[in-house]
Symmetry: C2
Subunit: 201 residues, 2 copies
Amino acid sequence: MRIVLATRNAKKVPELRAILADAGVSAEVLTLGAFPDAPEVPETEPSFVGNALLKARAIAAHTQLPAVADDSGLSVDELGGMPGVLSARWAGRFGEGDQDRANLDLVLDQLADTPAERRGARFVCAAALVLPDGTEVVAEGVLEGRLLRERRGENGFGYDPVFVPEGETRTTAEMSPEEKNAVSHRGIAFRTLAKELAEML
Amino acid sequence: MRIVLATRNAKKVPELRAILADAGVSAEVLTLGAFPDAPEVPETEPSFVGNALLKARAIAAHTQLPAVADDSGLSVDELGGMPGVLSARWAGRFGEGDQDRANLDLVLDQLADTPAERRGARFVCAAALVLPDGTEVVAEGVLEGRLLRERRGENGFGYDPVFVPEGETRTTAEMSPEEKNAVSHRGIAFRTLAKELAEML
């Protein structure tokens, strides 16, 4: 079976391939690199699930293959659950040049007066699988944690340098990629999705 | 009777004095200008009511006079109710130089992909009165509306140029100060507070 992962980032393939294999699904994983005419799908929905479905539907329709897409971000208690679906573009125009850095600086500034007991946050990932026949499966993964006041660690990306998972003392930027995958919201969502796919097949 | 308005902005006095007079409360309204040693009260609470009470309590304790304080801001549906209590410093470090302009630019960018039917928002104001004997009265005012994509009008401040109240076609920056006071969240909160004060006296 062939599955399209709705991303142009080939680095994401090995993780999905390993997760599918662990779930007993033998599949060839393609990316959008194999479909140069695939549509760009803007992430305009107000929820992670909505955006993941939007992308998976468009790519399944275009490729006529099972399509997997995900959307993820950081949900901060003190910010009413934001940056949420806006995590990658939270700083808007002020992120030009280095969006990742500006997004994180902005969240740190917005929480400047927030004491430790109110710095709860979670990484959330929604993964969606859409089959050409219209079948849709959605899975969500959540990693609970809290936000530091200063960056620590060089791994990961985005908000990783200030995010400490529950029960951990290190930030997700201080974990190895393998350690992070084992506990991450993205890992959880994709493993759940793979399990559901295995049951369907 | 003398009342302290917990602000250093003398321009806010005429509005409160007029509202108190309308409610039948005859009071001399002072500002913090009359109390140079009054403490600076950081707005660290996660709610408007919390911040208004924080300020009113501190000023009533310091002056031994009835103290009135308010906190207000913009609550945007699509941003999970934010900027909320962070309205005046939403852009953090990116607002240096012109915080008002940067805050509004940032909200416009964050809503860039948000269609008209999801652009609901409201101005919220909490006003608190604290008496030296510990009595506390809180009132909240809300002005429902929606956010435009571009600025219109030169009056007001903050988010006024993109905010259109329900049932209006103009932004609050296109209204005269008198028109805005008549419908505004701040006007509603202060009139409610004045009415409660009148009943207490």
